[in-house]
């Protein structure tokens, strides 16, 4: 059962990742592009956390406490490193989101739309 759940989660996350990449490539609305990028990023972050997870019961957080023995802690606590990496990636992703959203807003101010397809027509008009 637990391996079925693991496979289920993994497949779902990979589906999310491919959906995100597909969305970034095909959507013409800039805000939708940013949302799809976030979906892809979150799928990768969750896959990362899954790597550090332990398939044991009960599983402990990676914080050592007095009431469990050290050996038990080693055997049953999750790996803290992927969590630290994901924390870094989430912070970076937030900065990237702010930057991209700023550009989308600036775009709207200049062209009155956030749709890349409309903008392409405007650009072509400029060149003539």
């Amino acid at each position: 059962m637990i391996s079925f759940l693991l496979a289920y989660i993994t497949i779902t996350l990979f589906a999310m990742l491919f959906l995100g990449i597909y969305g970034v490539a095909t959507r013409s609305n800039l805000i939708k592009k940013i949302i799809m990028l976030n979906i892809a990023n979150d799928a990768i972050n969750m896959l990362f956390i899954l790597i550090g997870y332990r398939m044991v019961f009960p599983v402990f957080p990676p914080v050592y406490e007095k009431h469990i023995t050290f050996r038990e802690f080693l055997e049953k606590s999750v790996d803290p490193l992927p969590q630290a990496l994901v924390l870094t990636a989430v912070v970076i992703g937030m900065a990237m989101n702010i930057l991209l959203t700023t550009y989308a807003i600036q775009f709207y101010r200049l062209h009155g739309t956030v749709d890349a397809r409309d903008i392409a027509e405007v650009m072509r008009g400029d060149d003539e």
């Binding site: 990742l17 990449i21 970034v24 800039l30 592009k33 940013i34 990028l37 892809a40 990023n41 990768i44 896959l47 990362f48 790597i51 490193l81 992927p82 990496l85 870094t88 990636a89 970076i92 992703g93 900065a95 990237m96 930057l99 991209l100 550009y103 989308a104 600036q106 775009f107 200049l110 062209h111 890349a116 903008i119 405007v122 650009m123």
Partner: protein, 526 residues
């Protein structure tokens, strides 16, 4: 000197610059501050370069004194020290050039902040010895370059290009992050020296065994990393953002983006392919074929698209695609000559391409248009700029006494070792590019203004007059002299710089031992 200080200098200066800009309104003070920062960085990189070339093995620094597999490691060998030196000198020159180029822009302290941030990212990515840290540094480079591309916010094209670059760059670095997941799940570490030790079966302190056979994880890792590098270094299927993003940026930024930012992913790929995981068996053939095919496609695409451009910066941008294609092909040979040629080409291409963009920027600054058919005849009134433009084009095309000729020849040698047809790709694409540059030069030097345009310079009968800014002219002359000088000294520089760099980069044993010895010493001393 501790080597850890080198990326900290631009970072520290960048951190306080917005605050300074809030209180000090003087443009001169901010320019002086940024110049001080880049001069200090260039000096520190020079020291680093001397140290790396005089030491027998790579220099190692543990951030926070945490030993190797636990903390972040900075590891500098000759290959990275050479590119760090090139980068910091180019940044210094671009800052001087920016004083002239950005004289009409507002909010200059944000511009210099992003520029120093970009320098931090590039130096950090070149110096790091940690796979995850490379991801972080790519995001630093990314954030700085996306903001610099769209720095002129009133320009709709710049904003669109910056958005496109930003979203595709963020997606590419995310894929590299996923690759880190596969590596960590199978090797249990992200330190480059530790990864290399496990791959080669060499013992390493405080670490775990690999989880099962790493072949599949390595294949996925290389697939994802190469897809990241293809996008970030603008090779064929991932090149589409570059012809919009690089021309839209202010010219000094275009110079740095085209010269250095596209070279950093190539360096990272070289580090993985030659030092950390030198591929063997089936995977070697596949990676080699992929790199050669993508590189040749980008070279053909870049050179043919150069022929149809009218925007002078777009022309140069397509030439960047062609040159990253050459670098990919050089890496794809997977031999010592290939790595040595690519190392030397990264340095030469950075110098010549930056000079070409700066010269193009000087023409644009003087004439107010990017279309070289409209600035026809401007070359006569701007002698220094024209000289720089001619030197840079001749160098990039590959005319013998200039620098890029020698590195192109080395790449040609490396490719001919594999197959003669690959060498022919270099010759054909160079010839096509030469024709495109020649066309631009003819317009700039002696072309007559086309009929039907009268908004730029109706007041003048003999074409536009350019006024050369002294800062910009100084930088261009210095760089043109460097292009010629490096070209003439090339036979010596190849022996003294490129060959030791490539030799040390391929010597994985000393790369691992340098880190291991220091880590064991720290652990033994408690």
């Amino acid at each position: 000197m501790e080597i850890g200080i080198v990326p900290i200098i631009p970072l520290g200066f960048a951190f306080f610059l917005p605050l300074l800009g809030y209180f000090v309104k003087s443009r001169r003070v901010i320019e002086l501050y940024a110049l001080t920062a880049s001069i200090l960085t260039a000096y520190a990189s020079w020291k680093l370069f001397i140290m790396a070339y005089s030491s027998e093995e790579p220099l190692v620094y543990f951030v926070g004194n945490w030993p190797a597999p636990i903390g972040i490691t900075l590891e500098v060998d000759r290959l990275s020290a050479l590119i760090v030196l090139t980068a910091s000198i180019l940044f210094l020159l671009a800052m001087v050039y920016s004083i002239g180029y950005m004289e009409r822009e507002k909010g200059i302290h944000y511009y210099y902040t992003a520029l120093l941030g970009l320098e931090t990212g590039i130096i950090g990515a070149l110096m790091t010895g940690d796979a995850f840290n490379i991801f972080v540094m790519f995001e630093v480079i990314g954030a700085a370059s996306y903001s610099l591309v769209g720095f002129i916010r009133r320009d709709g094209k710049a904003v669109e290009a910056a958005f496109k670059y930003g979203i595709i760059g963020a997606l590419a670095t995310s894929l590299y992050f996923l690759a880190m997941g596969f590596v960590y799940a199978s090797f249990g570490t992200l330190n480059l020296a530790d990864l290399s030790a496990k791959f080669h079966g060499i013992p390493f302190p405080v670490t775990v065994k690999t989880f099962g056979d790493p072949t599949l994880a390595l294949a996925i890792f290389f697939a994802l990393t190469i897809s990241m590098v293809v996008v970030k270094s603008a090779n064929f299927p991932g090149h589409f953002w570059l012809p919009d993003a690089h021309p839209a940026a202010p010219s000094p930024v275009s110079a740095l983006l085209s010269g250095l930012v596209v070279a950093v992913p190539i360096y990272v790929l070289a580090r993985y392919l030659y030092t950390v995981f030198p591929p063997e068996g089936e995977i070697r053939g596949v990676i080699s074929a992929v790199l050669l095919i993508l590189g040749a496609s980008s070279a053909f695409l870049g050179s043919t698209m150069m022929l149809v451009q009218r925007d002078i910066k777009r022309l140069v941008a397509y030439s960047t695609i062609m040159h990253t294609g050459y670098m990919f092909m050089g890496l794809g040979v997977l031999s010592f000559t290939g790595l040595m040629a690519v190392t030397y080409h990264i340095v030469n291409h950075a110098l010549a391409k930056a000079l070409l963009f700066l010269a193009a920027g000087s023409f644009i600054h003087a004439s107010g248009t990017k279309d070289f058919e409209k600035m026809a005849g401007i070359g006569k009134s701007m002698p220094f700029t024209t000289f720089a433009f001619v030197v840079a084009t001749l160098s990039l095309v590959g005319v013998p006494p200039l620098n890029a000729f020698f590195s192109k020849m080395l790449i040609y040698d490396a490719l001919v070792e594999r197959s003669f047809a690959l060498g022919v790709v270099i010759i054909i694409t160079s010839a096509v590019a030469a024709w495109a540059y020649f066309r631009a030069l003819v317009y700039l030097w002696r072309g007559k203004p086309r009929e039907g345009h009268h908004h730029e310079h109706e007041h003048s009968h003999e074409g536009p007059h350019g006024h050369e800014n002294p800062y910009m002219a100084l930088v261009m002359v210095v760089m043109a002299v460097a292009v010629i000088g490096i070209g003439i000294l090339s036979p010596m520089l190849i022996d003294r710089l490129a060959i030791p760099a490539a030799t040390q980069a391929m010597d994985y044993r000393s790369y691992i031992d340098a880190v291991r010895r220091l880590a064991e010493r720290i652990i033994a001393s408690g």
